[in-house]
């Protein structure tokens, strides 16, 4: 059976040489090429989102001071006359920073890049279940990105109602001064939703139906597990957002009144729709990073992952719980206290699976043979920063505390601890760890370490003091805190944070240099530079079209490191078990038959 597939895969490989530039590099149906396309475009959006953040911090660190002369010329008088950022433009900056980072950087980096790269390779498939749908799913994203970018150049500027676009602020240009920008924002996200749905449809089908023989559910690597769960969340959450966005667009353009109070519409309905999508979205942005970190920590400490099954169950239970906690974003919006209490309880329960994961990571590291290289450092940073972000989340989960800190910089600190300290460090770990498989070369280890230590330092200097700002009452999204007397004393801290952010942003240049330099000059990686177990590492780097020369047969779980009976400290999933001379301790060879119960 596998021989037929092998010949055909080979035939396909040969055929691909004739596809030409456009089919190979632009409209490619190969999941690895699509992963690379997602990677480059999402990194560009990440840079853009970062630059918007730098502008936000310029205003907060030095309110009213003109931007440096060398970038003043970029901005017309409607944004920053003589370099001074206008309040309306500041609203757009805050909105678009979040929008680009969440929808165009983090989601594509996690689901788009690693979903495409890892899922077929880790489960032993030739490609996705629907390669052409996969291509469409990528190409929708730049289209949506262009629409979103265009909103900066229309009259009134880009959307300024926050990434949550709360009604009634978002329902009419009368409130924000943004007319076309808000409409483009809505259209762009509706379009982008199709990318997410098509992509996740593909991931779910691929994981269910395309696994190699022997790849049972509980032999699937945790990165693929987390992407599988994330795909389910995307699949079910994005349509909710799309529905809400369409109704909001109707309010904007057709004159309906779903969310407009002047026509008996319900602004709170928008909040319910948005956060019913929005809370699963929060986990969409963190679960994949948890998967990457699990892979890296287990491999780099040369130990089986502690509690594999509990890791999977924790992922599943976080995903389930994410559907019943959305109200904790709305404690301040007016809610029956009994209902509020319910949301407090469901939210606090999420701490349990999260803590299980954290203890499992620590249990994996415990007395491991830890290799302190760049992926591991980023992964450990993920764990520690996620603990801080998770604990500050507990404050917000408690309604009485949340009412005090709601919409302050405490929230900003929390979400950046989870999304930058968590997701972004997880993505860095993933990029460095799987870079050799994507490009055939290693990233430079020394530069990687320098980038890590500087990032970790400036990151914490920038975001930890924000907790303090929030507790002292500084509002989120405020243009100039100095307009309030009680916030004027916080200006030195704000300036300090801004300088730290500038340093953090500059540090990313090291990463960008390392990334680009290693494409050409990095050390050639070979098949398995990290001595890891998953099927991914049995393929050449980068893998050819069709991935596996012949269909792999899986014999064991993905984390069999430092097995006492083996000389080598790793045991690839597809290596046939030794015969009886290994003391009879090895598992019996599985057959081609699917395992019962799958």
């Amino acid at each position: 059976m596998s021989t037929t597939t092998a010949t055909e895969t080979h035939a396909e490989h040969v055929e691909h040489h004739d596809l030409g530039f456009i089919r190979t590099y632009i409209f490619s149906t190969d999941h690895k090429m699509i992963a690379r396309q997602f990677l480059f475009s999402a990194l560009m959006f990440l840079v853009l989102g970062g630059l918007l953040a730098v502008m936000i911090r310029w205003q907060l660190g030095f309110p009213g001071r003109p931007l440096p002369a060398f970038i003043q010329w970029i901005f017309p008088d409607t944004m920053a006359p003589s370099g001074i950022i206008l309040p309306e433009f500041y609203n757009s900056l805050v909105t678009m920073h979040a929008t680009f980072m969440i929808f165009f950087a983090l989601m594509p980096l996690m689901a788009g890049v690693f979903g495409n790269l890892l899922i077929p390779l880790q489960i032993g498939a030739e490609d996705m279940a629907f390669p052409r749908i996969n291509m469409v799913s990528f190409w929708i994203m730049p289209v949506a990105g262009v629409i979103m970018l265009a909103s900066f150049f229309v009259e009134g500027g880009a959307a300024g109602a926050g990434w949550t676009s709360y009604a009634p602020l978002s329902t009419s240009g009368e409130w924000t001064g943004v007319y076309m920008g808000q409409i483009l924002w809505l259209v762009s996200l509706i379009v982008l939703g199709f990318s997410s749905i098509l992509g996740s449809l593909n991931y779910v089908s691929t994981v269910i139906n395309m696994r190699a023989p022997g790849m049972t559910w509980f032999r699937i690597p945790l990165a693929t597990w987390s992407l599988f769960i994330t795909a389910w969340l995307l699949l079910l959450a994005i349509p909710i957002l799309t529905g809400g966005l369409i109704l909001l667009l109707a309010d904007q353009t057709l004159g309906t009144a779903f969310f407009r109070p002047e026509g008996s519409g319900e602004p709170l309905l928008w909040q319910h729709i948005f956060w019913f999508f929005g809370h699963p979205e929060v986990y969409i942005l963190i679960l994949p990073a948890m998967g990457f970190v699990s892979e890296v920590i287990s491999c780099r400490s040369r130990k089986p992952i502690f509690g594999y099954h509990s890791m999977v169950l924790a992922l599943v239970s976080i995903a389930f719980l994410s559907w019943v906690v959305w109200g904790h974003h709305m404690f301040q919006s007016g809610m029956n206290p009994l209902l509020g209490m319910t949301f407090v309880l469901t939210t606090v329960v999420i701490a349990v699976p999260s803590a299980i994961k954290i203890f499992n990571w620590m249990g994996t590291l415990w007395r491991g043979n830890i290799h302190f290289d760049a992926p591991l450092l980023h992964a450990v940073a993920f764990v520690s920063l996620f603990i801080i972000g998770g604990l500050s989340g507990m404050f917000m989960a408690a309604a009485p505390v949340d009412i005090y800190i709601h919409d302050t910089y405490f929230i900003v600190a929390h979400l950046h601890y989870v999304l930058v300290g968590g997701s972004l460090f997880g993505i860095f770990a993933g990029i460095i760890y799987w870079y050799p498989k994507m490009f055939g070369r290693m990233m430079h280890e020394g530069l990687g370490k320098v980038h890590f230590f500087l990032s970790f330092l400036f990151y914490n200097l920038a975001f930890f003091p924000m907790h303090n700002l929030g507790v002292q009452g500084m509002m989120r999204r405020i243009y100039d805190p100095n307009q309030y007397e009680f916030l004027q004393g916080l200006q030195p801290l704000n300036t300090f944070i801004s300088i730290s952010i500038f340093c953090f942003a500059s540090t990313q240049i090291i990463f960008a240099f390392n990334f680009l330099w290693s494409l050409r000059k990095g050390k050639v990686a070979g098949n398995n530079p990290w001595k890891s177990n998953t099927l991914l590492w049995t393929t050449p780097s980068p893998p050819p079209h069709g991935n596996f020369p012949e269909m792999p047969q899986v014999y064991r779980g993905p984390y069999e490191y430092s097995h006492p009976d083996r000389e080598e400290d790793y045991w690839p999933q597809d290596e046939p078990p030794a015969t009886a001379d290994a003391g009879g301790q090895t598992a019996p060879a599985p057959t081609l038959e699917p395992v019962p119960g799958d």
Binding site: A129, L247, A250, L269
Partner: protein
């Protein structure tokens, strides 16, 4: 990726579900469709509970008899779809073409009647817009008090409109399948396309039964 490889990928021995990829993919896609309609129906439920004064008794504004006939048509089209699939399971290509054509015509008729209904309703002032909503009761379209409120019109058009769009897309896909069937693309062993579009069509039908109940009858 060539079609040959995609075809072999569908037939791998693997520990997956005993369903071919396209069918599995359609089921998963329909789950996301369920969530989309959930957002529309959920909004409707919340708005209606919050503003019961925007709604009136069933049948006073909307033309229930006409839509009941239309609903019957759509249910019939599900039957013809089943007949089309049954025909090709027997290898009956002529039967497949005949029943597909019937499904397409009935589906198109459904959309057509919906357009007629929309034009009549908007002519009577039943529109989604806040400012121009002025619906009057059935029977005396030129006089009588205004009925309901703009949320009635807005939710009506949102729900039935997106359903109509789904039916229209379904008709287009069915035309595609029909053209392929005329070329003899489907046989008793190769009927995935027919089955997958059938799943979508039955889903759209099912959603309509739900929408007809809550929009027109309650």
């Amino acid at each position: 990726m060539s079609d040959a490889v995609i075809a072999t990928m569908d037939r791998r021995p693997m520990p997956g579900m005993k369903v071919y990829n396209k069918k599995l993919g359609m089921w998963i896609f329909l789950l996301s469709e369920v969530m989309f309609f959930t957002s529309l129906i959920g909004s409707y439920v919340i708005l209606r509970f919050a503003h019961p004064d925007h709604w009136t008794d069933p049948g006073t504004v909307l033309n229930v008899p006409l839509t009941a006939v239309n609903t019957f048509f759509l249910i019939c089209s599900s039957v013809t779809m089943v007949k089309a699939f049954a025909a090709i399971q027997q290898g009956d290509q002529k039967g497949l073409q005949r029943w597909l054509l019937a499904t397409i015509l009935i589906g198109a008729a459904f959309v057509g009647i919906q357009v007629v209904e929309y034009m009549a309703l908007s002519g009577e002032g039943f529109v989604p817009m806040l400012d121009s909503y002025h619906a009057v009761g059935r029977g005396n379209p030129h006089e009588g008090p205004s009925l309901g409120g703009p949320l009635y019109g807005a939710t009506f058009y949102a729900m039935t409109g997106f359903h109509g769009a789904h039916v229209s897309i379904g008709v287009l896909c069915l035309i595609f399948v029909y053209v392929r069937s005329l070329q003899g693309a489907y046989t008793a062993d190769n009927l995935e396309g027919v089955e997958v579009i059938g799943l979508y069509w039955h889903f759209v039908d099912l959603v309509w039964i739900l929408l007809f109940t809550i929009v027109y009858l309650i």
